[in-house]
Each structure stands twice: as C-alpha cells, then as structure tokens.
Amino acid sequence: MKRREFILLIGGALAWPAIARAQGGAKLHRIFWVSTESQPDPFLDGFREGMRALGYVEGKTVTFETHYAPGDPQALRKIVSELQRGDIDLVVSSGPATRVMTAVTDVPVLFALSGDPVALGVVKSLAHPGTNFTGSTFLSLELAGKRVELLKDIYPKLRKLAVFSNTDHPGEPLEWRATLESCRKFGIEAAYVPFCGAREIENGLMAAGKVDADALLVFPDVVTLVHRAKIAEFAIAHRLPSMFGWSEYCDAGGLLSYGANQRTTYYRLATYADRILRGENPSDLPVMRPEKFELAVNLKTARLLGIDLDVSSILFRASKVIS
C-alpha cells in the first residue's frame, strides 16, 4: 500500500508541470442582470462587490448588461429573446424577474428570490436544483408571521394592522395568508391594503390611510422597496409604527425591519456566479438560504412617531439600531 502510494506520488510528481491550474483566464464573461428593482440598485452593488472580491475586473473579465423594468416583470419578457444571441454566460435575476426567466433553458440563471423556488418550479429541490437555475431564497414567507409578532412586541397596544401589499408580487397571496394567520393568533385585526404595481402605489397609500389602523406592515417587494422613503414618510405622517422586510426600509425611515441581509445574499450569489463561470453546473449547486436575520430598528422614527412604544423589548435583540 505504502509502496504503491509512493509510486503514485512519484508518477504524479513527474506529471506535475504538465498540470496547469484551470483558471477563469482572461476571457470576458458576459453577465445579464435582470431586475424589477429601480436604479440605483443596492443589490447589483452587492453582487458587483462580490465579483470584485473574487478577482473579476469589470470591463476586462466581466461585463454586466443590466436590464431594468422597475416593478414590471412583464416588461422583461422581450429580453428573454435577447439571450438567444448566445454570447451570454450567465443571467442573474433579482426578485420577481425570475418568474419571467423560467422560459430560459440553455443559459445558467442565478436567482435571488423571496419566495420558494421549488414552488415556482425553477428548481426540483433545494439540495439538487437539477435545472439551469440555482441561487438564493430569502425565506420571507416564514418571516411574515414573525414580523407581526415583533410589531406587537414593540407596540403592545396594536389592535388593527394595515397590511400593504403589492398583488403583482409572486407569492404575495401566501405571504398575506401567513400574515393573517399570525394576526389572528395575536388578536389583531388585519386590514388588507392591496395595490397592483408601481402605478397604484399612491392610491394604495391613500387607501391605507383610510383603514384607521394602529400600525403598518409592508411586504418586502421591489415596488415598496423603490418607494420605501415615501411609505416610511406616510407611516410617520400617520403616526403608524411600521414593519418592513429588509433593513434598507429602516434606513429610509421605517421603524422596524426583520429579514435577511440582501446585500450579503447578493454577495454570496457572486461566489455561485464565479463557480458557474468556471464551468460548474448550476444543477449541482444547492439553493442557498440565509441563516442570519437582521432585526433593525430606527430610533429616530420611534421618536418622531411620538407614541408609546416598548422599544426596550426590541433593542436587546436588534442587530441594527439607527438613531
């Protein structure tokens, strides 16, 4: 055994100079960035940062072709045909854009979804996608109830909750159902304020103002993210403690947010992009899920609201405090 190993090693040793390390090389990789977000896009920045950390130089070894259709996934349908060009190495689809990308079968697609990719039908299982799709899911459905709970913790007097939801968002009904169930458990009346797409957001907010709720829950979604400042402003104006999905909302004036760090998720997505560009098959790369959830609280907003909030029940477990 030892002798054989030794011989093997000698053989390997002599063959060594012939073995060149497979590198990404100087090839220019084309990445299609498809998003329903608006610009500037914090998620693209996170992804770019990740690619840079992995040694990619924009313009030299990687180029991004960005396609934005803020809040309107349907507008992206026509770009699917552009993928037939054949010089695209990878598609990265952010959020609801993934739903449109299901038509793509011959180019690897990396997604960052808030919903369940198995339910969406783009992968066969989380452990073994088995298709040209892989990526990251934010687990937002499981967190929907948790957000109601946290809102109740900070504002124990909560009786009526306005749930502001973009019906254009995939998986929205499931999220609403989870929220409703949670509200029922806490004895909270849930006031569903749906709106469809960016065009209706103004009307939606107007409707939310009329339901006479004690607090506002906003589903994390591209349209609400784009208009996060407006929504936060609305909540403060109406003295509504607000709850969001991502800390970006808190940065813009939201009171609370609970969810995975999006930027980290996109940063990690870059490692998958690197592996796919190096030749790995997306069908072998398991779908990633966040294991760390950020609880952000904006104390400035808490003060601005001027209502009786149990901030201490949140502070000791907050991972991000904006003051």
Partner: protein, 599 residues
Amino acid sequence: MTDGAAQSSSCTMPPRRSLFCKYFATLFVAAVVPLILGAAVEASFGYRDQRRQISAVLQADARAASDRIEAFTDGIRDQLGWMVQLPWSAGDDAQHKIDALRLLQQVPAIVSVSLLDETGTERVFVSRLHLNRTGRGIDMSTDPAVLGARANKVWYGPVQYQRDSEPYMRIAVAGSLPAAGVAIAEVNLKLIWDVIAAIRIGETGYAIVVDDSGHLIAHPDISQVLRGRASSGSFGRIKHLAGAASGAAVITGDQGNPVVALSVQAADVGWTVIAMQPASEAFASIRAALWRSSILIAFGVLIALALAYWRAHRMSGPIKQLEEGVERIRTGQFEHRIKIFSGDELQQLALRFNEMASELAISQQKSARIERLKQFLPSQVAELVEHSHELLEGQRREVAVIFGDLRGFTAFSTRNEPDVIMAVMREYYEAVGAVTTRHEATLIGFDGDGVMLLVNAPVACEQPATQAVRLAIDLQMTVQSLAGKWCDAGHAIGFGVGVAMGPATVGTVGYNGRLDYTAMGAVVNLASRLCNLAKDAQILADPTIAGRVRDSVPLASLGQRTIKGYDQALEVFAVAPADLPLKAPGSGQRRREKEPQDY
C-alpha cells in the same frame, strides 16, 4: 576451399557485441546505477520523513478544528445551562422568554429554544422564524431530547437536514435540579462553516466534519453541505479510509484528487473532523527534491555517457589497431608496426607485437632461404641446414653410396636439339628426385647424366644397405620405364647403377652461403666405379652390400673384377631381384657406350 572462404569471411566480420559496447555499457552502468540508487533511497527516506511531518501537521490542525467545534457545541451547551439554573415557579415565563431571546441574540447558530418545566411540558418557545410561545404548551416528556438530557444532563441529537439540504441538530441540557426543567436548542449547523472555513492547512488544505454515519456537516464549500444526505456517500468513504489509517493516509479526496487525510474524533458530539491536504501540495518539497535528484541524475548520466564513451574508445581503439596489425601480418606485411602511446599495458602489448612482427619477418626470410636452398639441395639436407647444425658437421660414418648413370647419353646429346635433351633430362631428374624422396635418401647431386645418392647420412637409418639396394632397384626400374618411353621416341638411352657401402667423411662444404653436403672416401669412388662397370639395366654392388643384403635380396656374383684405383680385384655382385627385368624389351637395340666387359 569454400569452407576456408567461409571461415575467413567469418573471421573478418565484426563481432556482434564489440568490446567497445561492452566497455561502454559497463562503465555507464557503473556510474549511473549508484546515482539512481542513491536518489531513490534519498527519495524514499524523504518521503517517509515528509509523511511523518504531514501527519503531525494534519494531526495538529484536525485537533485544533475539533477543539473549535467542541468549543462551538460546548458554548451552546453552557448557554443552555444558564437557562436551566433555577426551578420553575408560577409567573416567571416572561422572564424566561427574555432569557431565551437573549440567548438567540448571543448565539447566532441557535434557531429556536424550547424551555420545558420539570414535567416535560413546554413553557417557553422562542424562534428566529416561527412565532414565540409562552405558557403551558405541548408535552414533550417523551421526546428523546428530554429523555436524553435527563439521563446524561446533556444530549446531542442526530444531524438532520431541513428540506434535505440544511443541516440542523438539537442540543438539550437538563438542569442540575429536576425542577429546573430542560432547555432544548435547535442549532443551524451551517454556522459551523465559520469555524471550518477559517481552517487552512498549507495553501489549499482544509478540514471537513462528518457525523457518525458519514453525513457531511461542515465543509469550506458550503454547497457540499447543502447537498444534504445525497452527497454523504463519498464522505462516508473518506471518513472510513481516514479512520482506518493510523496516521495520515493518502486517499482520493472529495474532489477526486489524491489527498493526505487524517481524522480526529470530536468526543462530545461523536463527529469526526478530517483534515485534508492535496497530496500534490503536501509532497511538494519531496517533489522538489525528486526534481533536483532527477536533474542531478540527468547530469550524471550525461557525464557518465561522455566518460564511458571516452574510456571505451581509449580501450577499443588500440585493440582495433592491434587487430588490424594481426590482419596485416597474416597477409604478410611484416614491416607493419603498431603505434600506441597510451603508456599502459596496451602500449607494452604493441611493443611486443612489433617485436613479434620483426621476428616473424626474420623467420620468413629464413624460410624463404630454405625454399631457395631446396631447389639446389636434397630436401632433407636443406631442412637440416636450417634446423640441425650438429648433424651437418663433418664426421666419419658408414654410408651407402649409390651412383646412377645414363648409357648412350653422349651420343644422344650430340644427335638431338637442346630442347629435346632438356626435356629428357628434366624427366630423368624428376624421376630420380621422386625415387630419392620416396626412399628418404640424400641426393648429393646431378653431374650431367649421372647422379649420386647417399643413404645413412646425414639422416641415419636402420638398415642402410637394404635401403640402398631397394632404392637402387626402384631407381633402375623407374629409369628403365622412362628409357622404354625414350626408346619408343627413337632415343637409345640406358641406365646403370652402382652401390657401395663403407666409411666415408660426410659434411657440408661450400662458401659464401652456398653450401653442399657431400661424402668423401673410397666408398664413393667404389660406387662410381661399379656404376661405370654396370651395363644397362644392371645394378652392381660391392661385397659389403652383398654381405648385408644377401638374405633379403637375390644377388649374383660376377666374380673378381679389377677396379681402377684398387690394387686387388674385388668381387662384384649384380642385384637380381625376381621382379626386376634385367633386360628390358628393346634394350638390345640400344647402343652401348660403355660396355667394359661381358659376363
């Protein structure tokens, strides 16, 4: 003839394995084999040392990883221990809940915490994903976590893969007081990644963690873990192979490349930490040494080649020269000399060879002289001249002298042309020479148509008289048959012979290199006289011969004859053998030149 040609051609053919090749191969092997052996021994010892060192490094790294993983689980265990310090009392669920939430904040890997009272009923449940619960909840008293924790204070659950992808595990801790209940934490094992990813062995080596049944728990490439149980097959194999070896083992790693692996048990949780380093990296230094050795060997081989070539050439060159020299000598070029100045035995050999060649030249000259002598001397005499000087020294001994003489030759020679005469003479001389040789007698010389032969000198023989008589008979018969032929050609030539025996002085006489062997004494004269007396076809012998051969050869006495130079008459005998036709047919027609007397 053909055999000889074949033999000579096979001699000149170059040998299949020349000395050059043999010398070259031997010198080459002598230089290269120790070099290669040395390198191989060095490499094998180096390999062993390197392996031992790698084992030590991997052992340390695996132990460190295992310690950190134990610290990770111990940290959770200790934190859970805080949860179960005090016995449950009514109304403190809220405080417990805050403690549990704090625990979540403290330990990111914990996904949820359940706090149970002494009856095994859930009192507090907090989670990062699910809604928190307080107050009396479900009865978990039969949960293996509760049973395990109550039995051993601490219970580590099996690794489970959520949605067959993310590894989770439950850890339960029971308070020292049964009334303190049990705390159960659900731990996301993905968080161990931080521990494992931080471990770098060498440049590209890493550590992985597998559970008892070979399922992957932690890997620097998190996606390996997220593949769930499906990928556990290869890790089970790695765990088995690494565990089977006492030290580090060279196995096929999870990426299909050979790795050096060593496993260490993390005692509490029953997991195995396997530290791996790609063999190519682990053995880089030995590989470098091998390369160095290889280059040295290549260098040595080149030098050995050059040296062996030079040495073998120095050896085979002179030998080829010698071979050529021998060949030249064989073809008779004795003047050929070999020039070798190597200052060693080969030069000595060349020197000896040259000496031999010059001696051969002398010997050749000598034998050439003998050949020349043989033209003029009896062959025995010629041989003796060269080989036995004593025999030829003048001495007195008893010899038999035979004279022969042609009858009617004078008349013949005056009547015929010289070429006819020379033809007859040539035939005559050849016949006489042949008979002489046959009877090993000594041909002293021809004197025109006469011939003188000597028996018992210089070479002694047993019965000189008998041999002389036999020779005479043979001579007479041979010449007579010739004479018959000549007669048919119209030449009347006969032949008479005289034989006498007695003491005579024999020896070589001559001058200036020209030597003659001859006999002197009365017996010579007597033989000559008897020859003169003899008629054609007759052989006359003196009484001494007659006395000696009387028993073996029939003789006829011719009575007393007066012989010139002798005072007294001498009895003369005619040899009359039965088979000798004393009167050849047609001999009567010959004219007799010498017919001294009728009988």
